[in-house]
Symmetry: C3
Subunit: 354 residues, 3 copies
């Protein structure tokens, strides 16, 4: 029996199957520092224990996207080692906050299967759940990937396609227990703009650009213990159609989020991710820019001091975003666009219900 | 109203104005490890809790320059976003030591303004103060920068130029409470040379060289949450006169300090920085070397076990320092010189007053 | 007197001499995170406090190789600053586990000297011991290096060549106190293969490859406070015969160990290192692959829940290991091989003595 992990092929998945993923991971202050060094985030709640305590928390919580990357990374060896393409994700809900010292693990349930007509591949839908050492859910999301069949003659499974929401209903957004923005210090947070100051339809150019180096995206992706080999092996990738190591899509999401501070500086937490597309590959040497559009605003019944903005953030490579590059006249996306992310962010409200 | 930060222009500053900067930052063991990985410092006091405890402290303090970079980084969005040039700093005094877990924030007071005769720019002088979560000052310094006017027709302010000291008076040097070098273990510290062993006028070639990579200086500068875009955006900088990302000057200071271990290994703390010039830009690929000269020696009334050396450290790019490159015969600086830093370091004394 | 460290030359060493090395180092969660970011290790015991607690420990121990690199790095300024070549190491025994917060220092005893017939160099044998802040030994090993004489006329010392074991006797392997694999969760650990599942003679291709960047190996080597200048100074190394910075051999060991997870995922600890050769230099841009062979299996009298596998791991550059590259027909090593490491790893046993 081979000792190496062959990964799962399409025919290995069954609807209802539960996959308990390796490796549990204690997230520490060291990870938080590296995350800052890799992206340069400046959101106050994650940056300073004292600020988080003024907002009712025990300490600065770990950045939501760092939690996402760690939880996600664990699914790769079991779900997407033989994947052809990562097709999408939906219903990404952040639940219990993670603090340094918490240990996170992930399990996934197969919730859908659909063989492609070519008989060579199929789409696997999984709901993945990250839990902490107390068993509380920290993150829950659906992902679907196209996976190769090992044996093309293996019979097609019964087709099950889950019904996925277009967006996370804002009433489902879970804020950290005790979070209270009623004494929010906007000066210290670095932005004068509260929930009420944003309008649906408003577009924001985040102005700044960040160039990516090979060492950075590889350190990030290893930090998340994500083992997808396309990110790490230049000797193999030189023969690929791009001839380059591909950058983990999550690295671009984190860069775009950090860049969005300039314009969304009070977006202290990500409430949920509704969906996202990595519309073009990125490589070392690319400079990432971003802009955002406010899609929707929602009050939060569970917290009178905060509101949720539904944001669409577009990231580009080697193209400033002052012209808000997006779909072109012919309906095609501008080729500089590399990410189109739809998510809820949480901001303090100016007019608090007292 | 635009949601992005336009920064302040020269006419936005008023003498006496107080700027409370974002973002507070908890400095952790993770930051300390990254700092070691980026520069390779080996000063014992910052490296080992046990060594620091033998010297009377509760734990290893955070490197003075890491504190400086974090405090400094916060001033960039408010003070120097529209700067043409960083002209200098003076009277840099390190006060309460910072330990992992402390949260630092910065505020600045405008202490001087001087419009340039071209009417397009002016010099802004600020005194910036970093404080910890207990409100104690950890760092205090003056910086002056040349800032663009937004509206060239804006009237010139009354000229106020602060009177700045050439050097920090050594009687102002503040050592960590409890610091006691009477049992100093020079073997463990890695240098047999005490305060008494250095002579004014002595020159030391620090021998070693360190080559800089893009990923390193960008990770460092993001760790400090310093957002100056010239360091990060190759897509924009390719059109600049150098065609390259500029390296944050503080990165060179930290490299020079780490290199200075070879010759100044017992310089356990920086007491103060008297002034410094970044005399030429540095780019990834440059190898940094350094040499130092002892300018002055001072006893410390507040601590009988330590003495202060006033040091001038010169860093060069792509040029070893065995010939002590400096001003040339024609009075011009050797073009390989990139940094000229004047500061006080604290060393244990061999002959302790008991 | 020059203030810089000249290092020791061959004639400076005496058999029996004790060298107490600078600089003590507190190993923290920050170092652990960086180690993960640099190599991407996924061994469960080091990754999660909760997993380590299920295995009877108080917390996740620091990776054995991170401890090795820190302990080793300290010996460089005193032992190998004037070395021509690092010839080998043997009898590397890991003792007390290191946990974040522990402070490590190193001292070495000269145990052998042998001048070379050319009268210009000699071989120095040292036994180096790393201890923690309680004085417990964490690591003990023998290394021998070829060191230059400063004065070729200095008389040759009496020749003393220590008798070194071919391998560490497995009865000497010291496991962390309390370690108990009787409830080992192989699913969470990421591998179904226990001690009993491996056969002597079995070969495992670890499949994955990892490309090295300059920033990565330099950050790693500085993290270990290893000052050997060949790793850092491109300005000097451009004139060397390779024209490149050499990568610290320990960086390759750590990469090979991380890659070995794919096939040896339950090898939770390194019990001892029997010996190793860095058979060719590696440079940034090289992609490292690895394969392993099981040389020997041993029960551990001190722990019924674990067994020891003696493993030989071969790492290559720019060459996949599916053909197990090794010695060629003419007896020469395949030129792609860069590392040949012989060591004991500790795995849980499936059939526990209850």
């Amino acid at each position: 029996m081979s000792k190496t992990n062959p990964g799962n092929y399409f025919e290995d998945f069954k609807v209802g199957q539960v996959l308990d993923h390796a490796t549990p991971r204690t997230i520490t202050e060291g990870d938080v520092s590296l995350y800052t060094a890799l992206y340069g985030g400046r959101f106050a709640l994650q940056s300073a224990d004292s600020f988080a305590m003024e907002c009712g928390l025990d300490a600065a919580p770990v950045d939501d996207l760092l939690v996402f990357h760690v939880v996600f990374g664990k699914t790769v060896p079991d779900v997407s080692l033989n994947a052809v393409a990562n097709l999408g994700y939906a219903d990404v809900q952040f639940k219990a906050p993670v603090f340094p010292g918490d240990t996170v693990k992930t399990s996934s349930t197969v919730i859908g299967l659909k063989e492609n007509s070519n008989g060579k591949t199929g789409v696997v839908y999984v709901r993945s759940t990250g839990t902490n050492q107390m068993g509380a859910t920290v993150l829950d999301y659906v992902r679907w990937v196209m996976v190769r069949k090992k044996d093309e003659k293996a019979p097609a499974p019964e087709e099950v396609v889950p019904n996925l929401p277009d967006r996370v209903d804002p009433s489902f957004i879970s804020l950290p227990e005790g979070l209270d923005f009623s004494g929010f210090d906007a000066t210290l947070a670095g932005s004068p703009h509260y929930f009420e100051d944003y309008d649906v339809g408003e577009k924001i150019d985040h102005v700044d650009g960040m160039t990516i180096e090979e060492a950075e995206h590889m350190m990030a992706t290893r930090l998340y213990q994500n083992t997808a080999k396309v990110h790490f092996n230049q000797h193999q990738m030189q023969h690929d159609r791009f001839g380059r190591r591909l950058i983990y899509g999550g690295h671009i999401i984190s860069l775009a989020r950090a860049l969005s501070f300039n314009g969304l500086g009070n977006a202290q937490l990500i409430g949920a991710i509704n969906g996202g597309s990595h519309t073009a590959p990125t490589f070392a040497g690319h400079t990432i820019y971003a802009w955002s559009e406010v899609l929707e605003k929602a009050e939060l019944a569970s917290n009178q001091t905060a509101g949720a903005l539904r944001i669409r953030t577009i990231a580009t490579k080697d193209m400033p975003c002052d012209s808000f590059p997006d779909k072109q006249e012919d309906g095609k996306r501008d080729p500089a666009v590399v990410l189109d992310l739809d998510y809820w962010v949480i901001l303090p409200k100016k007019t608090m219900a007292v």
